[in-house]
């Protein structure tokens, strides 16, 4: 797969826009997941994930092909997500009140007659519950947790993506995981 992506990136660098489509469809779920984990809102996640791919395309000439493309791409996605969180800060209190309702809204909008099978309801509830608890973490912890459990990225890769020292990554993951343990232990 890596070779395929490398090849596609070469083509995109030469200006072949069509080759970028394969890159997007290969990474779309990962990038979307990072954004969703950090922003906790499906619309914003879609918006920022799209922006991340567009930025990647526009700045593709600055990507060093000797490095891992995913590292570079995820970095764009996390940076954009952090920017968005910062921009939202003025409404922070307003947000704090409605925080975490996104997944629940989605659930309550489902028509009664189209009720999901039991298992799916449970996983959907669990899913939005977990996300709600992640959203309760400060953004810098959200970022490392999102990356750590996206594909089980190594701490080294996370430190490269976020451009922070390994030690800091370690501390944040430990603390983030501790905080989530306390919040999720009764589930």
């Amino acid at each position: 797969m890596d070779m395929m992506i490398k090849q596609k990136i070469k083509q995109v660098k030469k200006g072949d826009q069509a080759a970028f489509e394969d890159v997007v469809s290969f990474y779309q779920n990962k990038v979307y997941q990072i954004c969703y984990r950090m922003l906790g809102n499906t619309h914003e996640a879609e918006d920022i994930a799209q922006e991340a791919f567009i930025r990647a395309y526009v700045n593709i000439h600055t990507f060093d092909e000797r490095r891992k493309f995913s590292t570079w791409l995820y970095r764009i996605a996390t940076n954009l997500s952090i920017d968005r969180i910062r921009k939202k800060k003025p409404d922070y209190f307003l947000d704090a009140e409605v925080k975490g309702t996104d997944g629940l809204d989605m659930y309550s909008q489902l028509p009664a007659e189209q009720a999901l099978p039991e298992e799916e309801v449970e996983s959907l509830e669990l899913q939005s519950y977990i996300q709600q608890e992640i959203m309760a973490l400060p953004p810098k912890y959200r970022g490392v947790i999102a990356l750590r459990y996206l594909d089980e990225l190594s701490l080294l890769e996370i430190s490269e993506i976020l451009d922070i020292p390994m030690g800091t990554v370690k501390t944040r993951i430990h603390r983030g995981r501790e905080a989530l343990r306390k919040r999720l232990r009764h589930v």
Binding site: G15, Y32, Q50, I54, L126, I173
Partner: protein, 205 residues
């Protein structure tokens, strides 16, 4: 209670979860867990948290995500579009480039030759840069004039081809065939060749 245990033990738990625990440390953690119920519970909760995070990590992008991204990209540079087309049609491209060079070759040859020249016919009068077919003269066949104007007072039994000149059809002159002004056609072709060559050459850059 965990309070009584070393913070070090919790650190080891996290190191273990990140796969960074050396064998000796792992043994230390293991033996402690066997003797301490509180830490056992703590460790179990952490592993459960991790399992929950992993199990909820298959979040999918919305259905039309890729298509929407592609739509949102800035317009592809034109020359790249040509480039891809040329790559997809190598034979046509080779033919086109050959044609271009051939055409420009003809044209530069044409430009070097700015002398007035006329197809060999009798009784034509040449004044300055004008070829005159006098009133009483009948030209058999095509009359071809290069780099000059043509004034027809008599008759031409054929086509009149004026390359890089103008017809000065005063009044009554007769041309049984077509009257062609090639200079205009050339201008037109040249204009287009220039456009295409500019694109072709910019591709190489």
């Amino acid at each position: 209670m965990l309070v009584n245990c070393d913070k070090e033990i919790v650190r080891l738990m996290h190191e273990y979860l990140d796969g960074h625990l050396a064998k000796t440390e792992e043994n230390k953690l293991r033996s402690h867990l066997q003797s301490c119920e509180a830490c056992q519970k703590h460790f179990h909760e952490l592993k459960r948290t991790v399992a929950m995070l992993k199990s909820s990590s298959d979040i999918q992008a919305p259905v039309n995500f890729t298509a929407n991204v592609m739509e949102g990209l800035p317009q592809e540079k034109k020359r790249v579009g040509y480039m891809r087309w040329f790559k997809a049609h190598p034979i046509i491209t080779a033919a086109a480039i050959f044609f271009l060079f051939m055409m420009s070759g003809i044209f530069s040859a044409w430009n070097q030759d700015s002398q007035l020249s006329v197809s060999k016919q009798k009784n034509l009068v040449i004044q300055d840069d004008t070829v005159i077919v006098p009133e009483d003269v009948v030209v058999d066949g095509d009359l071809i004039v290069k780099n000059g104007d043509v004034k027809i007072e008599g008759e031409v039994k054929g086509d009149v081809v004026i390359i890089n000149g103008e017809p000065l059809l005063a009044s009554a002159g007769q041309v049984s065939g077509d009257l062609k002004e090639v200079n205009q056609v050339f201008d037109w072709i040249w204009y287009h060749i220039k456009e295409v060559t500019e694109n072709v050459f910019s591709i190489g850059k």
